[in-house]
C-alpha cells in the first residue's frame, strides 16, 4: 500500500527517567541546539525532521515525553502507532539505567505493537561528556542490550552533539524497516467496506452542532 509513496512518516517515542536528557537529545537532533537550563517536559510533544535513507526521504516524528509520572495525567496513549522506541538513560546515574526495564515493559504493554518480540528499540546512553562521573559502563549497557534481543546501543552526548546524528539515523532505519513490513497487513478491512459519507456514527447522541 505504501510502496508507491515516496515519503514516509515515522513515529519515534523517546522514553526514560526525568533528567536523563530526552528533550535535549531531541533538540540537538532537530534544532542542533543545547541549553543547560532545566525546563520540565509536560505531557508529550513532538518535533519532526526529514532524513534521507537510501533513496527515500523519511520524516521522523520524534515524540519527547515527560519522565515524571505526574506530568502524564492523561495516560500514555501517544505510544500508539509508534514505529520505534528509543530508551534513554544517563550514564552518570545508575538509577536511570535500572529503570530501563520498566520503561520498556510499560511501553510494550501500553502500545501493544503487533510483534512485540521484534519491535525495534534503541538504547541511548547520554551525558558521556561527563566521563569522570560515569556510573554505568559501556559493557554493562551492552550486555543489557544483548539480553533484550540485541538492541542497538549508542553512547551519546546531547551537549557536545556527540553521536546524536548517527544514533537517530540508525533509529530511522530501524523504524523504516518495520514500517514497510507493517503496511502490508491490514486484514480487518477488506475492500468491500464503504461507509456512506452521510451516515453519522451512532455513538454521538448529542444534539449539539459541534
Amino acid at each position: 500500500m505504501s510502496g508507491t509513496r515516496k515519503k514516509a512518516l515515522l513515529k519515534v517515542i523517546i522514553l526514560g527517567d526525568s533528567g536523563v536528557g530526552k528533550t535535549s537529545l531531541m533538540n540537538q537532533y532537530v534544532n542542533r541546539r543545547f541549553s543547560n537550563q532545566y525546563k520540565a517536559t509536560i505531557g508529550a510533544d513532538f518535533l519532526t525532521r526529514d532524513v534521507q535513507i537510501d533513496d527515500r526521504t523519511v520524516t521522523l516524528q520524534i515524540w519527547d515525553t515527560a519522565g515524571q509520572e505526574r506530568f502524564q495525567s492523561l495516560g500514555v496513549a501517544f505510544y500508539r502507532g509508534a514505529d520505534c522506541c528509543v530508551l534513554a538513560f544517563d550514564v552518570t546515574n545508575a538509577a536511570s539505567f535500572k529503570s530501563l526495564d520498566s520503561w520498556r515493559d510499560e511501553f510494550l504493554i501500553q502500545a501493544s505493537p503487533r510483534d512485540p518480540d521484534h519491535f525495534p528499540f534503541v538504547l541511548l546512553g547520554n551525558k558521556v561528556d561527563l566521563e569522570s562521573q560515569r556510573a554505568v559502563s559501556s559493557k554493562r549497557a551492552q550486555s543489557w542490550c544483548q539480553s533484550k534481543g540485541n538492541i542497538p546501543y549508542y553512547e551519546v552526548s546531547a551537549k557536545e552533539a556527540l553521536n546524536v546524528e548517527a544514533a537517530f539515523l540508525a533509529i530511522a532505519r530501524d523504524a523504516l524497516a518495520r514500517e514497510s513490513q507493517e503496511s502490508n497487513d491490514f486484514p480487518e478491512f477488506p475492500d468491500q467496506i464503504r461507509l456512506n459519507p452521510n451516515q453519522q456514527s451512532n455513538s454521538s447522541g448529542s444534539g449539539c452542532n459541534c
Binding site: M1, T4, R5, K6, K7, L9, K11, R33, N36, Q37, K39, A40, T41, I42, G43, D45, F46, L47, T48, T59, Q61, F71, Q72, S73, L74, G75, A77, F78, R80, G81, F186, E188, F189, I193, R194, L195, P197, Q200, S201, S203, S204, G205, S206, G207, C208, N209, C210
Partner: protein
C-alpha cells in the same frame, strides 16, 4: 446540551473500541484514496473519522486514546498533502473551500487546522494571519472536553511553525510575524483553554463534582502545554517575559478564581520557565500568590519556587553564580512571604508551617552556607510560631513530627559537622519541642553523623556542645524504656562517641575524659553500663600511650596514678550503681594488666588492688557456677600476663585462685579449675624471677594430684574419664616442658587407670571421642618419654606410630 456521562469503564472501553474501529476503517479508505490521487474523496473519509471526536461518551483518558489515533491519521494526511502540493499549490485552495462547507464543526475545524498547517508548510499565505485565523476559529467549539483537545491539536501541529524571530528585524517578519505574534497566538489559546477548563468545574449536578474534578486534573497538561510552548520560544527574552508574558498569564490565573486552575498553573509556571526569569519576576509572582483564592495550597507553590531557586543558586552556571544582590534578597523576600502567608492563614495546619520552614532552612543552608545567621533566623521564626500557638511535645512520627525531623536533619546533613550546630542556638530550642522519642531520634542522628564524618571532639567546649545536643539520651527520663532494643542501640551510639574524644596532649585528654565521665555518670544505672566501659578503655589507652613520656614530665608518676584511680573509680560505679558483676571484673583485670606494663612507682600496689577487687567480685557476686569457672579462668589468664608483682604480693593472689578453684560447687569444675590454676605456678612471673617463669614444679604436682583425687570422687564414668584425660594431658604438658617433679611412673599409673576405664564405658559418641583423646594423650606421653631418654631428633607423632607398629 446534556452530557452522556458513562462512568463504567467497561462501557467506555466498548464505546472506544467501536469508535476506534471506525477511525481505522475510514483512515484506511482515506489512504487508499490518497494513493489513487483522489484527494477530495480522501478528505471526505477524513471528515467521517473525525466525526467520532464529537462523542460525549468518553471520559478524558479514553477520549485521549481516540484523539491520538485520529491525529496519527491526520498527520499521515498532512504529510501526503504537503508532498503533493509543494509542487502545485492551486489545488489547495479548492480543498480549503470544500472543507469549509463540511457539515459539523468538529471535523471541519480539525481539517481546517490540518490544512492551515499544510498551507504554512508550503509557504502559502501569511503565517501570521493563518495562525491568527486558526486560533480564532477554534472559538466555535465551546464544549470543554472537545474544545481542549481541539486547541491542543492546534498547539501541537503548529509547534515548529511559530514565528520565532526577534521583533523588528527583517522584512520577512512582516508576513510571517515575529516572536510577539507567536506569543499573542499562544496567549490567546491559553486563555481560551483555561476558560474551557474552568467551565468544566460548574457543568453538571453537584453530586458529580468529584468526578468532574478528577476529569479536570487529567486534562491539566493540555492547558499547561501552552506555557511550555511559550518557554520554548528562543526569542522570548527576559524583557518580553517580564513585560508581556508573565503579567498576561498571571492575570488569567488570578481572574479565573478557580483553585484547581490556580494551583496547577502557578506550579506550571515555576516548572517551565528558566530560573533567570523567575528571579527577575519574583515580586510579581509572589504578589499573585497572595491574590489566589483561599482553597489553593499556596504553601506548595511557594515551596516549589524556593526549592527550584535553591537548586539554581547552588549550582555554578558557567562559573557565574547569581548576581550577589539578588541572591541576598532572595532569602529575605521568601522569609517575609512565608511569614505573611502564615499570618494570613491562621488555620494553616502545623505540618504545613513546618514544611514551609523546611524549604526556607534548605535555602538558607544550601545557598548561604557562610551566613549561618540566616538558618538561625528561620529556626527562630519557627520557634516563635510554635511558642505562640502553644505547641508542645510534638509526636515524633506524626505529620508534624515528620516535617520537623526533615527540618532538623537539614543542617546536620549539609554542614557535615555537628559542631557547627552550636552556631545555631535556635536549633536546640526547636529540637526541644519534640517529644522524648523525637529528641532521642534526633540525638542518634547527630551522633551517627559525627561518627560518619569522623568529627573529633578536641576540647571541653566541643564536648559540652555535643552533649547538650544529645541530652535526651544522656539523662534519666521517665519515658525511657530501658529494656527496649532501641535503648541499647542508642546507648551503644553514645558509647562509640566516647572514642571520638581526642585532645592534643595527655593532660587535656585526661581532663576531657573526666568531664565526659561526669556527664555520662548522670545517666543512671541503665545507661552507665553502656557508656562507662569505653571511658575505662580510653583511660587505659591514654596511660599506655603516656608511658614513653616518663622522662619528659616530672609529674609523670602522679599523673599515671591519677589515671588509674580514675579508672578504678569508674569501674567502681559500675559495681555499686549499675550493680554489675562480670563486666567490672573484666575491667579490673584489664586494669591490672595495664598497670603492670607501666613502670610507675609502686605500680604493684595498683596491680594488686585491681586483681583483688576483681577477685572480690568473683567471691561475692558471681553466682552461676559456669560463670565462676569462666571468671576464674580469665583471672588466671590475666595474672599470667603480669610480671612485676613482687613475690609477697603475687603469692596471696595465686593462693586465692587455688582456693577459689577448690571451692567450686561442682566437682568437675573443681578439677578443671585446678588444672587452670596449676598454670600459675609454672608460667607465672614475679618481679624476682626477672622475666623468667616460676616453674614451681612442686606446687604444680601438688595441685594436679589434688585434681586427680577429686576426679576419682566423681561418680559418673564418662565425666570421670573426661577429667582423667584432662589431668593426664596437663601432667604430660608439664612433663614435656621439663618439670622434674613429675614422677613418670605415677603418670603412667594414671594412664593405665584411664585406659582401663575406657573399656568399661558404654558405647556412645562421647566415648569414642574420649577414646581418641586418650589415644592422643598416650602418644604424647610416649613421645615425651622418648625425647627425654634417648632421641636427639624430635620425631613426629606419625613416626612414633610406626615405631609402635614395629614393636607390636
Amino acid at each position: 446540551m446534556v452530557e452522556n456521562s458513562m462512568i463504567n469503564v467497561a462501557e467506555q472501553e466498548k464505546a472506544l473500541e467501536q469508535a476506534t474501529r471506525i477511525v481505522k476503517s475510514e483512515a484506511f479508505e482515506m489512504k487508499r484514496c490518497l494513493d489513487k490521487g483522489k484527494t477530495m474523496d480522501a478528505l471526505k473519509h477524513a471528515l467521517l473519522f473525525l466525526g467520532e471526536l464529537r462523542t460525549g461518551d468518553l471520559s478524558p483518558k479514553f477520549y485521549y486514546r481516540l484523539y491520538m489515533d485520529s491525529i496519527n491519521e491526520l498527520q499521515q494526511l498532512e504529510t501526503v498533502l504537503i508532498d503533493e502540493f509543494t509542487q502545485d499549490s492551486s489545488k489547495l485552495n479548492n480543498l480549503y473551500e470544500c472543507v469549509q462547507y463540511a457539515g459539523t464543526i468538529i471535523p471541519r475545524l480539525y481539517l481546517l487546522v490540518t490544512l492551515g498547517v499544510v498551507f504554512i508548510k508550503c509557504g502559502l499565505g501569511s503565517k501570521k494571519e493563518l495562525l491568527k485565523d486558526m486560533v480564532e476559529m477554534c472559538r466555535g467549539v465551546q464544549h470543554p472536553l472537545r474544545g481542549l483537545f481541539l486547541r491542543n491539536y492546534l498547539l501541537q501541529s503548529t509547534r515548529s511553525l511559530l514565528p520565532d524571530s526577534p521583533d523588528g528585524i527583517g522584512e520577512k517578519s512582516a508576513r510571517d510575524g515575529t516572536v510577539s505574534d507567536a506569543v499573542d497566538f499562544v496567549l490567546i489559546n491559553f486563555a481560551e483553554m483555561n476558560k474551557l477548563w474552568v467551565r468544566m468545574q460548574h457543568q453538571g449536578p453537584s453530586r458529580e463534582k468529584e468526578k468532574r474534578e478528577k476529569d479536570r486534573m487529567e486534562l491539566r497538561i493540555l492547558v499547561g502545554t501552552n506555557l511550555v510552548r511559550l518557554s520554548q520560544l528562543e526569542s522570548l527574552n527576559e524583557e518580553m517575559y517580564v513585560r508581556d508574558v508573565l503579567p498576561s498569564i498571571l492575570e488569567q490565573v488570578v481572574s479565573c478564581k478557580d483553585p484547581i486552575s490556580q494551583e496547577y498553573l502557578m506550579e506550571c509556571v515555576i516548572q517551565v520557565f528558566s530560573d533567570d526569569f523567575h528571579l527577575s519576576t519574583l515580586n510579581e509572582f509572589l504578589a499573585a500568590c497572595g491574590q489566589l483564592v483561599p482553597e489553593v495550597n499556596v504553601k506548595n507553590v511557594l515551596i516549589a519556587l524556593i526549592d527550584r531557586l535553591a537548586l539554581y543558586t547552588t549550582s555554578s552556571i558557567e562559573g557565574q553564580s547569581a548576581a550577589a544582590p539578588s541572591k541576598m534578597e532572595l532569602f529575605e523576600i521568601f522569609s517575609a512571604q512565608a511569614k505573611d502567608l502564615i499570618k494570613n492563614r491562621p488555620d494553616m495546619p502545623m505540618e504545613d508551617v513546618v514544611s514551609l520552614h523546611v524549604s526556607l532552612v534548605s535555602l538558607a543552608v544550601k545557598c548561604y552556607s557562610d551566613r549561618v545567621e540566616f538558618a538561625n533566623m528561620s529556626f527562630l521564626s519557627l520557634r516563635n510560631i510554635l511558642e505562640e500557638k502553644g505547641v508542645e511535645s510534638i509526636e515524633a512520627f506524626g505529620k508534624v513530627g515528620r516535617e520537623l525531623t526533615k527540618l532538623l536533619h537539614i543542617p546536620i546533613d549539609e554542614y557535615k559537622n555537628v559542631l557547627k550546630l552550636s552556631e545555631l542556638p535556635e536549633f536546640l530550642k526547636v529540637l526541644n519541642y519534640f517529644d522524648y522519642r523525637g529528641k532521642c531520634n534526633t540525638s542518634s542522628y547527630i551522633i551517627q553523623n559525627l561518627l560518619d564524618e569522623q568529627t573529633f571532639l578536641k576540647n571541653d567546649q566541643e564536648i559540652q556542645a555535643v552533649f547538650q545536643l544529645i541530652e535526651a539520651l544522656l539523662k534519666e527520663h521517665a519515658e525511657a524504656d530501658c529494656e527496649a532494643e532501641d535503648f541499647a542501640e542508642e546507648q551503644n551510639l553514645v558509647a562509640r562517641l566516647v572514642h571520638m574524644i581526642r585532645a592534643d596532649d595527655v593532660d587535656s585528654q585526661f581532663l576531657l575524659l573526666n568531664l565526659a565521665r561526669k556527664m555520662l555518670g548522670e545517666g543512671g544505672k541503665s545507661r552507665i553500663k553502656y557508656t562507662l566501659p569505653p571511658i575505662v578503655f580510653e583511660l587505659y589507652r591514654l596511660v599506655l600511650g603516656y608511658r614513653d613520656q616518663k622522662d619528659e614530665d616530672e609529674k609523670w608518676n602522679a599523673k599515671v596514678r591519677k589515671i588509674f584511680v580514675c579508672a578504678m573509680g569508674t569501674i567502681g560505679a559500675l559495681v555499686s550503681t549499675a550493680e554489675l558483676a562480670e563486666l567490672p571484673l573484666k575491667l579490673y583485670l584489664d586494669g591490672a594488666m595495664t598497670a603492670d606494663k607501666v613502670p610507675f612507682d609502686e605500680n604493684h600496689v595498683v596491680v594488686y588492688e585491681f586483681v583483688s577487687k576483681s577477685m572480690s567480685i568473683l567471691e561475692d557476686d558471681v553466682a552461676d557456677s559456669r560463670d565462676r569457672v569462666r571468671c576464674l579462668q580469665l583471672t588466671v589468664g590475666a595474672l599470667l600476663q603480669t610480671s612485676n608483682l613482687p613475690e609477697e604480693n603475687w603469692s596471696p593472689l595465686a593462693s586465692q585462685c587455688a582456693l577459689a578453684a577448690a571451692k567450686m560447687f561442682k566437682k568437675p569444675d573443681q578439677v578443671r579449675s585446678l588444672c587452670t590454676v596449676a598454670n600459675l605456678y609454672w608460667h607465672g612471673k614475679t618481679k624476682e624471677t626477672n622475666g623468667e617463669m616460676l616453674k614451681n614444679g612442686k606446687r604444680v604436682v601438688e595441685i594436679l594430684r589434688k585434681a586427680v583425687k577429686i576426679a576419682t570422687e566423681c561418680l559418673e564414668p564418662v565425666v570421670q574419664q573426661q577429667l582423667f584425660i584432662i589431668v593426664l594431658s596437663a601432667f604430660t604438658y608439664y612433663y614435656e616442658d621439663g618439670c622434674q617433679e613429675i614422677n613418670i611412673e605415677q603418670i603412667e599409673e594414671l594412664m593405665r587407670r584411664t585406659q582401663e576405664n575406657a573399656v568399661q564405658l558404654d558405647v556412645s559418641a562421647e566415648a569414642d571421642s574420649l577414646e581418641r583423646q586418650l589415644a592422643d594423650a598416650v602418644k604424647r606421653l610416649k613421645l615425651a618419654k622418648l625425647e627425654k631418654h634417648e632421641v636427639p631428633v624430635t620425631p613426629s607423632l606419625e613416626d612414633c606410630e610406626k615405631v609402635e607398629e614395629e614393636q607390636a
